[in-house]
Symmetry: none
Subunit: 300 residues, 2 copies
Amino acid sequence: DTDTDCAEVCEENVLCTFETSAVLSESARDKNIFVHGKISGQDAVVILEKTPIQKEVLGQILSESSLKLQMRNDIYSTYQLQAPAHLNEIKTTVVFPATQKHIQKYRRQESFLLEETAEDYLSITLPFIQEQRFSLQWVYNILEKKAEAERIVFEDPDPKTGFVLLPDFKWNQKQVDDLYLIAISHVRDVKSLRDLTSEHLPLLRNILHKGQESIFGTFGLPRSQLRVYLHYQPSYYHLHVHFTRLGFDSPGCGVERAHLLQDVIQNIQSDAGFYQSRTLYCPLRADDGLLKKYKEKGKI
Amino acid sequence: DTDTDCAEVCEENVLCTFETSAVLSESARDKNIFVHGKISGQDAVVILEKTPIQKEVLGQILSESSLKLQMRNDIYSTYQLQAPAHLNEIKTTVVFPATQKHIQKYRRQESFLLEETAEDYLSITLPFIQEQRFSLQWVYNILEKKAEAERIVFEDPDPKTGFVLLPDFKWNQKQVDDLYLIAISHVRDVKSLRDLTSEHLPLLRNILHKGQESIFGTFGLPRSQLRVYLHYQPSYYHLHVHFTRLGFDSPGCGVERAHLLQDVIQNIQSDAGFYQSRTLYCPLRADDGLLKKYKEKGKI
């Protein structure tokens, strides 16, 4: 079919003439890369992603490839395997012509690890939070049942130790494999981990235990299958706790940002001022206003 | 060099005769697969993982590959790209001969969160570790330069505070995006976090600071881009520290298993017996012998 052949050649030409301007983002784990460039002078975004290894062609991959030994130690050896191209395709997506919005959307921000001492918190982070005045109206709407009331899985209405439990937006509730719920406290004056003291122990224990019980009752997952944690920095400054399924790599469960609720409780039990006195580490994205403040002070 | 050529051909044959018994696990996200099979009648585990897309060869990939159009909709189109094999390698690890333990290790399992009190550690976990007598010969081979000597990135030979720093097997060293190195202490009597006391502060600080410096010197990543942590439970009971790139979701960096080295140091500074007295939480896979011990005692 000459028409198809011609179309294919033209398609090939499209990427042949692609001139790379910048790598917008890439993930070594996901094995993908997002690239901004030009095709005939117009903006384009090209996304490459390696494909999952298919069981069905495994035998062929192992028998039809060439192997280059890299390292051997005892019973372990590693190789570079070069497979026939048709058994090892790369998924390619082209956005053409692309707008500035597309280009922004695919741009990734670097993260930096902030080392926040107790003094840094008081002199830099706290003033920044106060001056930003992030709106928490959407949180109050949930607590007051003005929004998302039908999504609530459980509520303890106690004004001091109570909370509302509801599914995170990232979870579609279709399977428990990626279960993700959020508990939001009724108490409104706890901005983050930094505000927690022994006076909050009853609140924290209540969230942990009733949250676990209610997830077991509603979704059948026992507490041994749950990862329960707070973020620091949180994405909004009203106390909330994440419940995700153990074994599911939920975004934001990394040790640099997540604090296991059970550890938080133990830390406060042994030192009521733990979170007021400690140096806390947290990742900040390159475009975060807080990072800018720390950079201005020469702290990062 | 005919010897090398011959060795390479033999290596190829090893996988040519590989007979698949079962897929132990696979990840569509990570693009890897763990396969159990036989080589000349003996058990082997073969791990294939696609490699991250390297910026450096992106131009070549785009210009030297063939493209097959799959779908077009408005400004979006998708293709299957077939790249030259040397630009699209698959990282291959062979464990041969493999024991039942290896096969178990790579089989996908549910995880359970263990709540290990100080007493549980002494009465259940410690006896289990001692009775298992996991071989650490491969670790000693590295420390004594009997294996992998050419992979060492940095060494501090001090017997008390020294360590060897080398790339983790999971990292191919082609890009820093998924940088992953391991520091292994010369000290041999620290099994895990549980053994760390104030006497180890100089060792821990040395690993943190010299590890960060050496990674900055060799790979150009400053400490603000590094996540430095220990695992509990570790996969082998000889003190080692993980250095991974912040922003790269390295497997095992979740809050349920990882402990930030900076936090470990702070914890021991404020309480020398912190890790001997605390309840520690850690995930255990369904087939872990330790989980069985805890189940027998009715603890999980």
